[in-house]
Symmetry: C2
Subunit: 371 residues, 2 copies
Amino acid sequence: MERFRVTYRITGNEEEAYARAEDICLEQTVEFPLELVPAGLIRDHLVGKIAAFSPDGPGFYQAVIEYAASAAAGELTQLFNVIFGNISIKPGIRVQAVHLSESLLDGFKGPRFGREGLRRLVEVPRRPLLFSALKPMGLSSRQLADLAYLFALSGIDIIKDDHGLTNQVYAPFEERISLCAEAVDRANRETGQHSVYVANVTAPHDKIISRARFAKEHGSGGLLLAPGLAGFDAMRRVAEDDSIALPIFSHPAFLGSYVLDPASGISHYALFGQLTRLAGGDGTIYPNFGGRFSFSREECQSIVQGAAVPMGHLKPIFPCPGGGMSMENIPEMIEVYGREVVFLMGGGLFKHGPDLVENCRYFRSLVEGLA
Amino acid sequence: MERFRVTYRITGNEEEAYARAEDICLEQTVEFPLELVPAGLIRDHLVGKIAAFSPDGPGFYQAVIEYAASAAAGELTQLFNVIFGNISIKPGIRVQAVHLSESLLDGFKGPRFGREGLRRLVEVPRRPLLFSALKPMGLSSRQLADLAYLFALSGIDIIKDDHGLTNQVYAPFEERISLCAEAVDRANRETGQHSVYVANVTAPHDKIISRARFAKEHGSGGLLLAPGLAGFDAMRRVAEDDSIALPIFSHPAFLGSYVLDPASGISHYALFGQLTRLAGGDGTIYPNFGGRFSFSREECQSIVQGAAVPMGHLKPIFPCPGGGMSMENIPEMIEVYGREVVFLMGGGLFKHGPDLVENCRYFRSLVEGLA
């Protein structure tokens, strides 16, 4: 019977860590005392099994636990539950990586575009893509559209709503989407380029699909969604909808608590890489090292790995480091990330000099010169 | 203009903590360097304001930050984003409590039943309610229904699916719900009591509402939903649906990472109390102190407070401590929780003695004798 595996990092000495690994096998499946688990299928197949167990640096052990694929019922929500549901509440257990079986992966479409699809969409075959955000909240839809126009005119490939723009009275969703998409389209006609406007569809449960469809129908070239707020399965749902068929950028809002403590939660690799990709993100936004957040260079590099590690038919997706980037960071970022990256610069684009258009052009030329 | 407040606990000395509080004001709203924030409405109104700042024990400060209600756009997803979206990624910031304005609260229906409504439903006016779970995963729908029958026959008030039961081949959703609801109904006809079967509707985004409606139509008396897996707004959506109109029990799966580190994330009080209630949970399930999880007695007591603190029109909800409870815990739990509690005992009910019916009856008489 088909199985999949999850690698956990467990705190403790060998005996404690092994006991925790055994506990995970029960907690994540039958949630029942072992002595009461019925013999046969349930005990032999559904209870998790420790497939490997080894030291992982001082005070830590690594356990690979195997689960029956049938426990996940083909549902992303239930797969996440088996991976880390109840044990999220137990200290000293961190999901390091998932290893999903082919037919389990076949149940999820994953990213519709991936890196290649996104490059084709914006017609940028080689260099890193340039990404910025419409902000601050409180501007009118017209003002945001004017900004979108300037960004597109001056060479920014992807222009997204700030993730806090949803349906505020200052720039209501439908009005904002229509005006911003039109503005980017107008700039494209002038430049001959193919910038895209990315509408934020992080929204109440019953509004996500309708907003995504509205965005599609009104010229958005992509969507922004924060799975920490809307649920990872909402992203999966949007990604799989053929009537939408737009690239999705996953935003990390409300997800930080999973990664901050290195001894619990979920690794950067798994959360912002593997699981975001499994849920259909084409780009994974995360705070870059050296910005105003706390991720290390190594953690950022691990996200890049999770975004591209072989996972059956799932396409590799773009790392989108942002969060306090400035022009000064670009050379080092190109060293670290190479070409397969989307650079997200928000406030930094405004701060570089007094003229936004000049700043954007400088950003573009800097990247073109280096990559 | 209407505003709401959030209390954060911030790590650091006075200067560091104050700088972090100022940073929260920007990060959670305009996400823009202060010097670039346009004067007028945006700077005066949308940027968060530090309303209070004071020491909170060695190495910590407490900051109360005020936000414009309009920033939340009347959406639970965006309200959560303003409360803790980006700053979830910054270490040393913990949401302690939320203080929502009346008209902001008026935008959410909250729990449909609350404590009183749930008591009326099961016709138990005074004593603590008894709650158990159908498990383990791998049993057939028929076997789970037989268990549900025994639980109801022997005095358990609320009988829920284990939170890992979704739509596995072993007990597919529709079959399981129909058989289990019928079994509880049959037991009720024999006992004259009013036990309810609670169907797990934690499911893919596009299946939650249809499963909840199916459960309602086929005799479920309540629903189980894990907002960490499905999204808090999915719970809000189900709670507000008049065609469903069933009490909801919120399960903590996948939420543990928010509470484990006392210096970051969200407090037990806010997450399992206030926010679960705001999202429409009628009962909030969490691991009891002294069980197989790690919550302290004080943390559990804070959940009880968050479940009942005045929050406009929102009804008080039931704390549902579980997770490794046994008969031995009951006297202390009654001391701590009093009568306004739902005791969730799963494996412990099976372990107490060889006869499940006797065990359930003992559980009931123990609670009736003490409360």
